[in-house]
Symmetry: C2
Subunit: 366 residues, 2 copies
């Protein structure tokens, strides 16, 4: 193993839990009683407090950024230098340490399960801001994330304008009708599974088949037709099944495998909660106009669209950027040209780094 | 009601059943014992026998063409004139009168159900050709269809070269990896429904929720992001549900409705059978090369791609046309520019008629 700073960062220097110790009111009207945020810190804040970076995670991510985005810290990665203090916070509703449907409701002593209240991206970042305050972080040099992570970055910039110097949001915009429809169908798949049990399943008896199927459909939305064509075309499943005798095509075997892997590491009720939060993301909601919302932003913003992303089409991201510019935001739009679809933010780390690096402040340029 | 010829054609002049009266061997190795084809005839063959048109149907269609493609016969429609003899034949595997999974297996006296053998588009057209021969039809002036209907038209042209004068195939090509993957997921949704019962459900107790969900996903593939954006955007469900309080978005309500309607008129096992046939369509299979398959074609062919079709992308249809031209086929490619996706063949009848009419023989020009 190399002793380069990038390798030294693979494990967090600190991992812990935060709770406000009181009720946390939610945008949609519910309340979480003394919720927990699980967080991880890579490196340390410097004396000037100007090296803190918050990397926000997507649907299936966690506070442990290097676990799901290792290339960020690797040689040539955007955060290769060891001089940063990089924070990851598991979102509300998830199943990686923060309060979510699998957590015990202090009021009832039972798991929330299907009674977990509706949480929004706005709720997530409001509680994150309280944790960051508790950690005595006065300012974030950068908030960066993709997908639901990109939504959090934008929401932070709108809700806490003085707190964020730079924002990089990748493949994120309010979800369009096709995405809303496909998310809706995914939730129904989970609820169709006989093991669903109205959401009251035991943790080791979750609706695996429904969740696997939902994930498989999500994987279709995270990739692109072009990529699938290149990888699978009409080839038979690599294990040797014969489609003309009722066996699977290769793409079907791949999707099944992706689903099976996912159910080992994710909770069905969390999946429902986070796709609902994704659906509801709209940084303009609650403001009289897009201008009113975006003109609050003080951060420099870079929005990255992905050319083959059909869940969050590049045109939608570009249009969001145009609206920000119109509202006076120092906002740049860049396009990541890739056949990898929405997942390109993980699949094309070098191209992403080339796009984003010029935008980052001098101290962030590796 | 008008007494124009187009209106007079709305009901078939004859509707009947055909059976070869013997075993019918299938491409994948199975056998159907004395299967039935249900067919409908609009108009009559003329003395010269040169007015017969076969309109092939898509997944959820039937022999009664005017029921699902009424605009074909309406004023301005492609078959407006009453001088044609138009034939529709329900495909093997369907649930509209021809032998399918819901039929009784003469060998066992029970419904085939999940034991219905794998049928291909090739099987469908071989039995159709026998029916047409029985009807003393020596030649088809035109075979026209879209989606699975377009597949049948092409397969007929390859398998029965002297029998077809003109072919119009719309939105049809061998399915790509994304389409194969999404069809696979649809089949799994049906099989996830507790009412599935291994496919042995009673006809009035079919897996409604799974089938509705499969159809809803299929509807996403039949439409386009652009159309959904235009129709639904991020609006709440029109019945008044509030997404920010856990209710549905409009697109979700629409998809649910489409699914609910479909289960009233379609059988889950037929859905499995026909999506498998769609998956397996490849007119080149069984021939040493594309050239060897396509050079058999004697018909004039028009392939129509639909600009916003992401299930059968226009580029795939165009590429199929180019391969046919290379093999010496008199093949034209036209693109139907529409935001309606795969369904544009039904949704844009006037534009489709404008594209196709110049191609049709003089006697077919209305």
């Amino acid at each position: 193993m190399s002793s380069s700073p990038s390798q030294a960062l693979i494990g967090p220097s600190f991992e812990g839990d935060y709770s406000p110790g009181e009720d946390f009111s939610l945008e949609a009207g519910g309340v979480l009683r003394s919720p927990t945020l699980h967080y991880a810190i890579y490196g340390k804040p410097n004396a000037a407090g100007d090296n803190v970076i918050f990397v926000t995670h997507a649907l299936s991510g966690s506070a442990r950024i290097a676990d799901w985005w290792p290339r960020l810290f690797a040689d040539g990665g955007l955060l290769q230098s060891g001089d940063h203090c990089v924070i990851g916070i598991n979102v509300l509703g998830s199943c990686y340490g923060s309060t979510g449907p699998g957590s015990i409701d202090p009021l009832t002593g039972r798991r929330y399960g299907p009674d977990f209240p509706l949480v929004t991206i706005g709720d997530m970042v409001r509680l994150q801001a309280r944790l960051l305050e508790k950690l005595k972080i006065r300012r974030l040099e950068l908030v960066m994330g993709a997908s639901i992570g990109g939504m959090q970055a934008l929401e932070l910039a709108v809700q806490f304008p003085g707190f964020v110097r730079q924002v990089v949001s990748i493949g994120a915009a309010p979800l369009g009708a096709m995405g809303l429809g496909l998310n809706h169908l995914q939730r129904q798949m989970i609820q169709l599974d006989p093991a669903w049990d109205g959401g009251h399943y035991l943790p080791d008896q979750q609706p695996r088949r429904g969740l696997a199927l939902a994930r498989a459909l999500a994987v279709c939305t995270y990739k692109s037709s072009e990529l699938f064509e290149h990888r699978f075309a009409r080839r038979p499943d690599r294990s040797g099944e014969d489609p003309s005798a009722g066996g699977r095509f290769d793409v079907a075997g791949y999707l099944d495998y992706q689903g099976e892997q996912f159910v080992e590491r994710f909770d069905a009720n969390s999946y429902l909660a986070l796709t609902r939060a994704m659906d509801l993301f709209d940084p303009v909601r609650g403001y009289p106009s897009a201008g009113a919302a975006f003109s609050r932003i003080q951060a420099e913003v870079m929005l990255v669209g992905i050319s083959s992303d059909w869940l969050f089409p590049a045109a939608e991201v570009a249009s969001l950027a145009a609206n920000m510019v119109k509202a006076g935001v120092r906002c740049q739009y860049r396009e990541l040209v890739s056949s990898h679809g929405h997942d390109a933010f993980l699949a094309e780390p070098d191209d992403l780094a080339r796009l984003v690096r010029p935008f980052l402040g001098e101290d962030l340029q590796c």
